[in-house]
């Protein structure tokens, strides 16, 4: 009885929050799921039934394996549990197989792997401390951060309705950030390297990691005015970082190097033939660019400035995934997007190098890298906005100014995720849920930012 009272007593709000959101995730099991469900079922089948040499060549289903090898190993591990639920889902030829047991297994696997995310949030809370002692639970930064991260509705929509495994991946990222805050740089680097080999979308934020570790870890001391002290460079640290990354990459890509399959793997990982925009446009710069191109071409046709015969048939608005040319504005190649992204992240990288502000500066740079890549990247998914929103939660509980930016970012970011729910026949159901969830979030955020304004003076 005493144990129960301790468990349910004062300091257990974190456990209550984690359990509460897990129960909500269980309630979301019968909701709509997208084709990503079939994607992961297919990958379970591929990794379970076929030898490694076939993994990146298998193309029975249109949803081929396009994540790095660690994720393939992860699916392989899951498949060994899956066979106790329903053996049939592991058959590569059972396309679109979704029995109730398959659904249950897949949903539960997402919920279960979110445990890593919960642990990472717990570690992040340790890095956040309130400046003033707050008696009120709902005003403690730790509590606000836990709510913002654990109950992040974007993650709920993407992972538990649309169906993906972002929970534990973001857990890895948040854990590596937390380790960097705790000055455990090697662990942070190691975790990030592992993360890259789970899902290569995190390359978006790799520059921030690279520059920060180089500047603040390899150079062990600064001059009094904060600028670089060249003679404090530590080769040992550099070597150890390099070795860590190399070993992780070797573990991941080694087998495929041995099989001479690296080009095939890379072509699967970086499918540049997919086109500038995803089928559902991520709200980034190129979406505006495309829209402008379309408007100009319509105007041009009306004013008879353009020849109708010269306009290509495939249009960007058809919702298809393919490459095509712009009609009025110059066409955009992957190289152009890369250059634009690099130009966009250059200011923040410069600041990180010349004026390091410790882990907080690193976090700011990370968020800016994520946002820049979202804005200018090639074939960006709208889910990528979560890459900016989740780390931003960490910043938002520190300063009032960051909180207001976060409010705007998360409201618009989560709103932009709604198209993910719109393809279902029961779309109205889900729209209502999604609307309610995001409204709840908006209120929670508003509340948190109000609290933060009362915590720290404005303009600090």
């Amino acid at each position: 009885m005493a144990a129960l009272s301790v468990m349910t007593g004062g300091g257990s709000w974190f456990l209550a929050l984690a359990l509460g959101v897990t129960l909500l995730k269980c309630l979301l099991i019968p909701t709509y799921h997208s084709t990503d469900f079939e994607v992961h079922r297919n990958w379970l089948a591929i990794t379970h039934s076929l030898p490694i040499s076939q993994w990146y060549y298998e193309a029975t289903s249109e949803w081929t394996l396009d994540y790095p090898p660690f994720f393939a190993w992860f699916e392989y591990a899951l498949s060994h549990v899956a066979k106790y639920f329903d053996q049939e889902m592991l058959n590569v030829h059972n396309l679109n197989y979704s029995s109730s047991r398959t659904l249950l297994f897949q949903r539960f696997s997402v919920i279960f792997t979110d445990a890593l995310f919960v642990y990472a949030v717990h570690e992040c809370c340790k890095c956040v401390d309130g400046k003033k002692a707050c008696k009120e639970l709902t005003e403690k930064p730790k509590f606000i951060l836990s709510v913002l991260l654990l109950w992040n509705f974007g993650l709920l929509i993407v992972d538990h309705i649309h169906f993906q495994y972002n929970g534990f991946l973001f857990g890895l990222m948040l854990l590596s950030i937390a380790r960097l805050f705790q000055k455990r740089h090697m662990e942070g680097a190691f975790l990030f390297a592992v993360l890259l080999h789970f899902k290569h979308i995190y390359l978006y934020v790799a520059p921030a990691y690279g520059i920060y570790l180089l500047r603040s870890y390899c150079f062990t001391a600064n001059k009094p005015d904060g600028s670089i002290r060249w003679n404090s460079f530590s080769f040992v640290r550099l070597i150890s970082l390099g070795l860590t990354v190399f070993l992780v990459s070797a573990l991941s890509l080694g087998p495929f190097l041995a099989l001479n399959q690296l080009p095939q793997v890379f072509s699967r990982l970086f499918p540049f033939k997919r086109g500038l925009c995803h089928a559902y446009w991520a709200p980034n710069f190129w979406a505006v660019y495309n829209a402008l191109d379309k408007v100009l071409s319509v105007i041009g046709l009306q004013l008879k400035l353009l020849d109708p015969k010269k306009i290509p048939k495939a249009s960007m608005t058809s919702g298809l995934v393919q490459q095509f040319q712009h009609t009025v504005l110059p066409s955009v190649t992957p190289l152009v997007t890369l250059i634009c992204t690099l130009i966009a992240i250059l200011p923040s990288i410069f600041c990180l190098w010349f004026k390091p502000q410790g882990p907080r500066g690193f976090l700011r740079c990370l968020i800016l890298c994520a946002l820049s890549s979202f804005m200018f990247g090639w074939h960006v998914h709208e889910k990528a906005i979560l890459l900016a929103i989740l780390p931003m939660s960490l910043l938002s509980v520190g300063k009032a100014g960051d909180a207001s930016i976060f409010l705007i970012l998360s409201t618009t970011g989560h709103y932009s995720l709604f198209p993910l729910l719109f393809t279902a026949p029961g779309k109205k159901n889900l729209f209502l849920i999604g609307w309610k969830l995001s409204t709840s979030l908006a209120w929670a955020l508003w509340k948190s930012s109000v609290n933060l304004y009362s915590l720290s003076p404005p303009g600090s």
């Binding site: 009885m1 129960l4 009272s5 349910t8 007593g9 257990s12 709000w13 209550a16 359990l19 509460g20 129960l23 909500l24 269980c26 309630l27 979301l28 099991i29 019968p30 909701t31 009120e136 639970l137 709902t138 026949p425 029961g426 109205k428 159901n429 209502l432 849920i433 309610k436 969830l437 409204t439 709840s440 209120w443 929670a444 508003w446 509340k447 109000v450």
Partner: protein
């Protein structure tokens, strides 16, 4: 109130949980020929829209009373009519006479769920929020936690159809507690006219209001109040029953549909005294029908008399809430033809006293949800019921720290244990007994749930599990009653935090 944003978040969370649970199957889905309660609701929309009022409660070629005939008072019928007008606007096929029987589609499910959610949103949820805001002597944080727990109560989320009558009854309780007597009694009359089971709550209302009249003095203001209240009640009943007063046969037929005394002491397996006793003593076979009615009536009356008398002599909002619990429980345990879902009529008043005796209330509410398990399993609602029960338990445990507050005084069993200690001086461990009983009951509930889901019962005792369930529930509810029904309890000073 301050921290209104937290209350908003709590309400939105309640709505989200309700909506996600409603994504599951509904009662009677895909089960011809009778389907379930969902089909009953749709059928009532069909009947009220297509037939004239005079035929609603009568058996005819168009209206087969055996197929989900109307057996609730007129306000339910009017509500169904209103929904039918909306349905007609969206898709007339849903309520076409005869041809829409057993109509099932995604769009129709969405429509039915939406009507339930809107009713909840407009009537029930504001009442809960207002109730929590009006609670005295507790902090804002506790008020919000209280609202969260009430909104997360699984029973009201899992049972299909809207709880219009419970919302109206709650408005009635609020009105009467805050001295808006006329509005409160109007709301309660409407509730009774919506579902006749609200009569379970009628005696406390009557005694409380009568007590208020006595307090104000029978010769002056009290008499005026009494007349006004009587007028309100008569007017509301007349308004609702107006179309049925034209002929005597109409009114009688409606009453016959509402109170089917031909049916018997109990049906199915329900967690009340009659069902539990009948395992050993087949009352249905021993006693003739009219004697059963009389016995049930007398026992019900005897069990609720002390509380009601006390309330009339000393009316207070707190006493009123406790009397509601007591009377509803008496009716549930001893009354005639009680349905499993009637436990909700007891749960609602228990939710209202959640802030005052958190431990016992939580225990009761958990057991009441469990008592509906056979019904929920029939509707394929195992996962939502397990999840919402766990969520409710966690919410209550963290909000009220129930395991820390189990002293004798907090459990309101002080006078009971004092009187026992006169004979057994060493009887100081009542709280520990209660705590152990709680743990045992929770473990038993979990085990019974697991067994019901995984095993098949032995051939000779096909209803073994349901009967075991009802025994467990009976023991807990009777324990609760002993704590509640004792009139001396209310003499204690209000518990301060």
């Amino acid at each position: 109130m301050e921290k209104w944003y937290l209350m908003t978040a709590v309400v939105l969370l309640g709505l989200t949980v309700r909506w996600t649970v409603s994504l599951n199957s509904y009662s009677g889905a895909g089960k011809p020929p009778m389907f379930g309660d969902y089909e009953a609701q749709r059928h009532w929309q069909e009947i009220t829209f297509n037939l004239p009022i005079k035929q609603w409660y009568f058996n005819s070629s168009d209206n087969n009373l055996q197929y989900w005939g109307l057996d609730y008072p007129p306000l339910t019928a009017y509500h169904s009519l209103l929904c039918a007008y909306v349905a007609q606007f969206i898709n007339p096929d849903w309520i076409a006479l005869h041809s829409s029987r057993g109509y099932e589609s995604q769009a129709h499910k969405l429509f039915m769920r939406a009507t339930v959610l809107i009713a909840d949103l407009l009537i029930y949820i504001p009442a809960v929020v207002l109730h929590c805001c009006c609670l005295k002597e507790i902090s804002t944080k506790k008020k919000i936690a209280n609202a969260l727990c009430i909104l997360l109560y699984p029973g009201l989320i899992l049972i299909d159809y809207g709880h219009f009558h419970l919302g109206l009854a709650l408005w009635g309780v609020l009105g009467v507690s805050c001295d808006w007597d006329l509005l409160g009694s109007l709301a309660f009359c409407l509730a009774v006219n919506y579902k006749q089971m609200e009569l379970y709550h009628s005696l406390p209302f009557f005694c409380f209001l009568l007590g208020k009249c006595f307090k104000k003095g029978l010769k002056g203001k009290g008499f005026v109040l009494f007349v006004k209240l009587a007028g309100t009640v008569v007017a509301s009943f007349t308004l609702c029953w107006l179309p049925f007063f034209t002929e005597r046969a109409q009114a009688l037929q409606v009453l016959r549909r509402l109170f089917p005394v031909d049916r018997g002491l109990f049906e199915d397996k329900v967690a009340n005294i009659w069902c539990s006793v009948s395992v050993f003593l087949k009352i249905k076979d021993i006693l003739p029908h009219h004697v059963q009615i009389i016995v049930s009536f007398c026992l019900t009356l005897l069990s609720l008399l002390p509380a009601c008398v006390k309330l009339t002599l000393q009316p207070s909002p707190k006493g009123f809430r406790f009397t509601l619990v007591s009377c509803a429980l008496s009716f549930f345990l001893f009354s005639f033809q009680v349905h499993e879902k009637s436990i909700l009529l007891v749960s609602l008043p228990v939710c209202l006293v959640l802030s005052e005796i958190p431990f016992m209330s939580t225990w009761f509410l958990l057991v009441s949800t469990f008592s509906m398990l056979p019904l929920l399993l029939k509707d394929d609602l195992l996962m939502p019921s397990v999840v919402t029960t766990m969520a409710f338990f966690i919410a209550c445990a963290t909000s009220f720290s129930i395991f820390e507050k189990t002293s004798e005084e907090e459990l309101r069993l002080k006078s009971f244990s004092v009187s026992v200690r006169k004979h057994l001086p060493r009887f100081t461990f009542l709280p520990r007994i209660i705590q152990h009983l709680f743990i045992i009951s929770v473990i038993t509930m979990v085990l019974l749930t697991l067994m019901t889901v995984t095993l098949d019962p032995p051939q000779k005792l096909p209803d073994l599990f349901s009967v075991l369930d009802s025994w467990l529930i009976n023991s807990v509810t009777s324990l609760r009653k002993s704590g509640r029904g004792d009139p001396r309890q209310r003499e204690e000073a209000p518990f301060t935090r």
